[in-house]
């Protein structure tokens, strides 16, 4: 299997994905990276370092909450989960994202005449 070069994401994409993944289950930072990669079939690779500023932004905006707990591998980890505001934010962002995607797809579907 040829490996695709991971692409830079557009601004805000990382945040939406983080929110979407955390909506399913609360996770800590490392597991979050693993899960996004796994979910995208390794098509996307999250820059591990850029995850943390994104998490801080979401925390500050009140979309996430964080608490320290012990992981399955018996490490002290900080687990993030969605707040109610985070859920709402995700819903609006998803619909906006779909609009945008639809637009982009239509433009790309233009045939050469």
């Amino acid at each position: 299997m040829t490996r695709h070069e991971p692409r830079d994401l557009f601004p805000g994409a990382l945040e939406i994905m983080v929110l979407r993944v955390l909506q399913r289950e609360p996770l800590h930072g490392y597991a979050l990276v693993q899960r996004i990669q796994q979910a995208s079939n390794d098509l996307l690779r999250v820059e591990e370092g850029s995850l943390y500023p994104a998490l801080q932004r979401l925390l500050k905006a009140g979309l996430l909450r964080a608490e320290w707990s012990v992981s399955s591998t018996n490490r002290r980890v900080r687990t993030y989960s969605l707040t109610r505001a985070g859920g709402k934010h995700l819903a609006t962002e998803l619909s906006r994202f779909e609009q945008m995607l639809k637009g982009v797809t239509q433009v790309l579907a233009l045939r050469n005449v």
């Binding site: 490392y30 591990e48 370092g49 943390y52 500023p53 992981s71 591998t73 900080r78």
Partner: protein, 881 residues
């Protein structure tokens, strides 16, 4: 709120982040090792995949940053460091500003208390005060009760009119009178609708019954103030309805306690108790109609002050003409004078304080102007110092600007530093307020000093806010903006000052205006001090040093009391003689003017025929050391009704009789037996009025009787013997005051003393500040010109030449400023002359002295930096930079 939460959360969040990143890396390493990678390699790979930990931490930290607030915290830190590094500069700046702020707030709180604060009653804006102007004296008088009653019946603009007569008296708590018992209180006799018209409720009990105030048998009741009730009865509500107050020897029933916070309508007194005005009749059965009262009214809704004034004037004029028509016996002069009286209405919003306001309104505003000038000088000083300091830091600031710091950011830092100084000054200033206010109030009557309500209110806060805002703008913001404007491109210029000429101009301008303001203040101070000296050195006509005055409550039987007490006082060792008179004249507050027409003459309608009356006891002229210049003094047997004799003063003798002798002439049916030397009557400033003395006869009745004692002993020595002698004589009326005639005379100079001492104080303060300003400006200029001076020295200039050159250079703005200051005082000389006595506002000696003092002080302040500059070593100077 969120901002605050974030601020506190941020620190914890950063710790969490560090721990979290560590955990992340460990987990990654563990999984790589589990996948078969050696540990060292796994660690490297993990870090590579993660990126630069420090950068990421920074990026995460930035999420929580609040740029403005963070910079502010740093700036305050900087500012404190500056204060520590230049303590002298900071101390001068802070203390001069603190003084300026403190005295400004203090003067404002006094103005606010005396002139601006509304009465604590319902809708005070609808209240008006009546006054009466008499044509010949041009004095403003209160009305009589008779006029009050007539106006109430004849006007329609008012919801109600109230009458009020305040006084000092002595009151006893208990059911029966005790000799020499009692305590001094401020009381008022008021119309029975007083509390209703004002809209003041009762804390306990009721107000006065709505009765006809002139009815034959007045209600024997009293309403206490809340404070007095708390102080004397501990807030015991059961005293209401009880006869527990004795006043002027009569028992009164407490019917109510006025609402808390209401101290009466006098801004400069705190009333303790109110009696119905009808109680005047109990002591003086036929005096109520002529009783002097302050009349206040509450305007009906929709009626303007002008409408009400017109209404009242028409009603008053109609009343006068009715009465004149009913008195056919009057001569023309009297009729005309009577009809020329007019009432006037002014706003009663701030209550009444006639005497204090008449004397102190303009002085207080003058004071406000001078302390504002002092504050301006201080601001100019601090502004100049800060500007100088910023200029000295041009290089540093230019480097920061070049390194990408925003100009706004630098301005913010400079403003923060300056604002810190201002904040420190404001705190110091507020701490000074009680002291400064106490000093000012020390010149007011003691009662007023405690009664004036100087607690901060919204107006005070607004004043302070406006003042601080102005200071911040002038001292902090403008210099910061100015000094950063020319900063671009300053880097290459080094210490050479590109904007030198303009800066120097600004400095000189600041310096000149400081000098102008302080010269003006010094001249004014000099004028006031000399006015006070002139008044104190004045020959009052009587001897101030050896006369003691004892004030006693009188009443219906005043003659008997006076004739008992005076001989008793003369038995005290060291008392040479004693006499008595009413509290009118000899610098007492009130005056008694009356018609004085030579018998058998018919004065022209325009002639001035009033004179000041003074009824006096035996040995009056001897006791007060007033010489009799012709004829004789009063002697036993002169008293009316047995005899009708009078003594007139020199002014009256001169105006009425010219060169002919007045002795043997009759005035108002009284035989003139003597001429006394002119004495001051109610004021040291005014020349002696025409005066007519008559002996006290039977049936004399006054509220307060004054005894004068001729003695070389002090008040402290005599107080005990005086009280004992009065008690031993069996007199129960309380003594309300013992003071020297000198003190009474000096008390009439309260305004002059206030102006003289405060103006000197502020004048000296302004002088010191201006000298500090001169010293600072010059030191800085000299330091900046080290190189130039060094060059001149190297080229052979002598030290005296350098010093002289600098002194002349800085002497110019000082001289121009001084000239401007003198011009300013000359410009306001008309205004000033009203407060002066015995000299002109353009008095050359005073102006010369002020300019000389300033010149010497300025020369001393300028000499030090100039001398230091001339001591520069040319080699070091040239090498600088």
């Amino acid at each position: 709120m969120k901002i605050l939460r974030d601020l506190f959360r941020r620190r914890a969040e950063l710790d969490d982040l560090k721990a979290e990143i560590r955990a992340h890396l460990e987990e990654k390493i563990a999984s790589l090792i589990a996948a078969g990678m050696p540990r060292a390699e796994a660690e490297q790979a993990a870090r590579r995949a993660f990126g630069n930990v420090a950068t990421i931490e920074d990026a995460a930290r930035d999420v929580w940053r609040m740029p403005r607030a963070d910079d502010l915290v740093a700036d305050v830190g900087f500012a404190f460091r500056f204060v520590r590094r230049s303590p002298a500069l900071a101390a001068v700046a802070v203390s001069s500003l603190a003084l300026g702020i403190g005295v400004n707030i203090a003067v404002f709180t006094v103005i606010n208390a005396l002139l601006l604060r509304p009465l604590p009653v319902a809708r005070p804006g609808a209240l008006v005060v009546f006054s009466r102007q008499d044509a010949d004296t041009n004095r403003t008088n209160s009305l009589t009760f008779h006029e009050y009653a007539a106006l109430g019946a004849r006007t329609s603009s008012f919801v109600g009119l109230l009458a009020h007569a305040g006084g000092d008296g002595s009151l006893q708590v208990g059911a029966t009178p005790v000799p020499n018992g009692g305590e001094r209180i401020r009381f008022a006799r008021v119309s029975s609708n007083f509390f209703d018209v004002l809209g003041v409720g009762m804390a306990v009990g009721r107000g006065f019954l709505p009765v006809d105030d002139s009815a034959a048998d007045p209600e024997r009741s009293v309403v206490l103030s809340y404070d007095f009730w708390q102080r004397r009865f501990g807030g015991d509500a059961s005293i209401v309805g009880q006869p527990v107050i004795v006043f002027r020897g009569l028992p009164f029933t407490v019917v109510g306690v006025a609402a808390r916070g209401f101290h009466g309508i006098e801004a400069d007194e705190r009333t303790d108790a109110w009696w119905p005005v009808g109680t005047v009749k109990i002591v003086f059965p036929d005096r109520l109609a002529g009783w002097n009262v302050t009349v206040m009214g509450r305007l009906k809704p929709g009626v303007s002050l002008a409408q009400a004034r017109a209404d009242a004037q028409v009603a008053h004029a109609a009343m006068l003409s009715d009465e004149a028509a009913a008195s056919p016996g009057w001569n023309d002069a009297r009729r005309q004078r009577f009809l020329a009286q007019r009432v006037d209405l002014t706003s009663g919003r701030t209550g009444i304080a006639e005497a204090l306001r008449a004397g102190f309104t303009q002085p207080l505003y003058a004071l406000m102007a001078s302390v504002a000038a002092v504050l301006l000088i201080a601001c100019a000083n601090v502004g100049a110092l800060l500007l100088a300091r910023t200029a000295a830091r041009r290089r540093e600031l230019a480097v920061r600007l070049a390194l990408g710091s925003g100009r706004a950011r630098i301005v913010q830092q400079l403003v923060t530093e300056n604002a810190l100084l201002i904040a420190l000054a404001a705190m110091g200033g507020v701490a000074l307020v009680p002291l400064a206010r106490g000093t000012i109030l020390g010149y007011a009557p003691a009662a007023a000093a405690t009664a004036l309500d100087t607690t901060p209110d919204l107006r005070t806060l607004a004043f302070v806010a406006a003042m601080v805002f102005t200071i911040v703008l002038v001292v902090a913001v403008l210099p910061a903006v100015r000094s950063t404007r020319a900063l671009e491109g300053a880097l290459g210029a080094g210490a050479r000052d590109s904007g030198g000429a303009r800066r120097t101009r600004v400095d000189h301008w600041l310096l000149g205006s400081q000098v102008a303001l302080s010269v003006a203040l010094l001249v004014v101070a000099g004028l006031f001090v000399r006015t006070l000296q002139n008044l104190r050195g004045l020959d009052a006509g009587f001897d101030r040093a050896t006369v003691l005055v004892v004030t006693l409550n009188g009443g219906a039987a005043t003659t008997a009391i006076a004739r008992t007490v005076a001989p008793a006082l003369e038995t005290i060792p060291g008392v040479r003689s004693a006499t008595f008179y009413a509290n009118l004249g000899l610098l007492g507050g009130g005056s008694a003017m009356s018609d004085c027409v030579i018998d058998g003459t018919q004065p022209a309608a325009s002639a001035q025929v009033t004179c000041a009356m003074m009824q006096v006891g035996p040995r009056f002229f001897e006791t007060t050391s007033t010489p009799i210049v012709a004829g004789r003094a009063f002697r036993t047997g002169d008293e009316p009704p047995a005899a009708q004799v009078a003594i007139i003063n020199e002014t009256m003798a001169r105006q009425y009789f010219g060169r002919t002798s007045p002795l043997g002439q009759r005035i108002q049916g009284k035989l003139v037996v003597g001429v006394a030397r002119d004495t001051k009557y109610t004021s040291l400033r005014e020349p002696a009025p025409r005066m007519l003395y008559t002996p006290v006869g039977a049936g004399w009745a006054v509220a307060d009787v004054r005894f004068a004692l001729h003695s070389h002993r002090t008040i402290a020595e005599l107080t005990g013997p005086i009280k004992r002698a009065i008690a031993d004589a069996g007199v129960t009326q309380p003594v309300t005051a013992i003071e020297s005639l000198g003190a009474i005379a000096d008390a009439t100079l309260a305004r002059e003393r206030l102006l003289a001492s405060l103006a000197s104080w502020f004048g000296s303060l302004a002088l010191v500040l201006a000298c500090i300003g001169l010293y600072g400006t010059m030191s800085f200029a000299v330091a900046r010109r080290t190189k130039e001076i060094g060059t001149r020295l190297a080229l052979g200039a002598t030290r005296p030449r350098i010093i002289g050159g600098l002194m002349i250079e800085f002497g110019r703005p000082v001289a121009l400023g001084a000239a401007a200051g003198v011009a300013a005082t000359v410009a306001v000389s008309r205004l000033l002359s009203r407060f002066l006595f015995g000299l002109d506002a353009t008095d050359l000696t005073t102006i010369g002295a002020a300019v000389l003092v300033l010149g010497l002080a300025a020369a001393a302040a300028a000499f030090m930096p100039a001398r230091r500059a001339s001591a520069t070593d040319p080699l070091i100077a040239l090498r600088a930079e």
